[in-house]
Amino acid sequence: MARVVAVPSRAAVSLSNHTVLRRAFWFLAPAITPVLVVAGWEFAARSGGVSAFMLPPISAVMVRLGADVASGDFFLNAALTLYRTFLGFAIAAAVGVTLGVLMARSRLANWFLDPIVSIGLPMPKIAFLPVFILWFGLFDASKITIIAVSAVFPVVTATLAGVQGVERELIWSAQSLGAGRKEIAWEIMVPAALPQIITGLQVALPTALIVEIVAEMMMGGYGLGAAMLEASRQLDSPDVFAGIIEIMAIGYGVVAAAGWLRRRLLIWHQEDARSTAA
């Protein structure tokens, strides 16, 4: 911490100088570690202590990244990765919310699905990827299926918990106003449980992305994960590191977008507004 202050003539100025420096330190400090990491990476790679194969200089990686963007490869791969991720995720969301509501409303559905969900949630679903490849082939269908299967369980449990936690008074009032079972489920329970459902979706979304990357690595073709594994097969390490940065950016963007969407969607919800304000 550099706190060397030029000695000013008046005490009052010294105090304000000091606080300014202090403020500046706390303002700039969050950038220090990332900058150090980048600089350390570049230095380690250039010093020759680590071979360029193991750790290419970050400048070389950025050049490769720029080339990927310029040639459009990045956009093609990212678009395919995101397409499969979101399609699998959308299926998981639709199926998951429906099953969750069903489990809360129907004893039969609960009896049948409860053990499946309680075993399926902690289970590493990715182990079933070779089974889906066997069933659906090496193309999009098997990738989208494994994504949907991996992402559906957190949505079911979150929906179930959310719907079960809906205040009875809300349901009673809807009933006394003449709402039917279906209306109560979709117009009272789901909106009231929305904060929890969205939390479940926020767990499922990064899972979907992780699984999509693994599926691409297993099966090849196009996509960010597939391109990265191809680069590592050809021992093209700048491309491997460029792939990490690309996937990292996509992951960051997806998670940030989900957070933004949550705030927009739940702006009306007093509980959520309170929790974000706190």
């Binding site: 182990a127 089974v131 066997l134 990265m228 992951g251």
Partner: protein, 270 residues
């Protein structure tokens, strides 16, 4: 829910039947799995689907017994468990420490926090090729991958738990002369424990996903490698047996951890 039927419905009503009841309840609860197993077996036996698409459940069980008998699934399973155990252990120790210090020291938070926030949303499976590049096909690449993948969930849960620690408790402990380390060990850590333990549960699930993924993609041993190899070789009944073993291991690990978690948090209930 259906376990809470009125007693008149229950065939074993005397007090001595508590043991029987403890046996029967899980049977009732998990009966849908039996339905699925019977359906699977029927579909396979009636050859509704070809055997190379869905081998019969009995064939899968038979090949599981064979794999256990030959020791193949046991040695590969131990390899996998070693990798997941060591990676997770390292992540818990380092992650919990980092999270607690981030919460109690502004300086640590300001230096480590940005890195954590930057790397947390990254899909950790992206690191698999680099781990192979750096550490090869053996244990090290899997252990480090699992360590890195589980580090941040553990650190963030420890951080959030410790941030929730009651400040008056910390102040009174330090006003009684407790050192920083003592405050950390006796006040902040117990406060953070519930949240930390649920973070570790998420890390446990993540660790299995990363283990299987990395073994499927680049390994010469382990259960994930076995699944890939058996699938490529077209030995589908053995592949299904291994897939189910991995799934079961993940489930058992989670249930075991839940029991442990309940024991560790027992003081909180009273």
């Amino acid at each position: 829910m259906q376990q809470k039927q009125p007693n008149a419905m229950w065939p074993f009503d005397s007090q001595s039947s508590a043991g029987v009841r403890a046996l029967v309840r899980p049977l009732v609860r998990y009966s849908p799995l039996l339905v699925i197993a019977v359906t699977w077996e029927t579909v396979a036996c009636l050859s509704l689907l070809p055997a190379n698409v869905l081998p019969s459940l009995t064939a899968v069980l038979a090949s599981w017994l064979r794999l256990v008998g030959s020791g193949e699934i046991v040695t590969n399973g131990l390899d996998s468990l070693y990798r997941v155990g060591l990676g997770l252990l390292l992540a818990v120790v380092v992650g919990a420490g980092a999270g607690l210090f981030m919460a109690t020291s502004r300086l640590v938070n300001v230096f480590i926090g940005p890195l954590v926030r930057l790397f947390y949303p990254m899909p950790k499976s992206a690191l698999i090729p680099v781990m192979v590049l750096w550490l090869g096909f053996g244990d090290a690449s899997k252990v480090v991958l699992i360590f890195l993948g589980c580090l941040l969930p553990v650190a963030i849960s420890a951080f959030n738990g410790a941030r929730g620690a009651d400040h008056t408790l910390i102040w009174s402990a330090s006003s009684f002369g407790a050192s920083r380390l003592q405050v950390m060990r006796d006040v902040v850590f117990p406060c953070a424990l519930p949240e930390l333990l649920s973070g570790i549960r998420i890390a446990l699930a993540t660790s299995f996903v990363l283990l299987v993924s990395s073994e499927l993609i680049a390994a010469r041993r382990g259960l994930g490698y076995m699944i890939g190899m058996l699938g490529d070789g077209g030995v589908y009944d053995a592949m299904f047996a291994t897939v189910l073993t991995v799934a079961l291991l993940g489930f058992i690990a989670d249930r075991g951890y839940l029991l442990l978690m309940g024991r560790m948090l027992r003081w909180r209930a009273s």
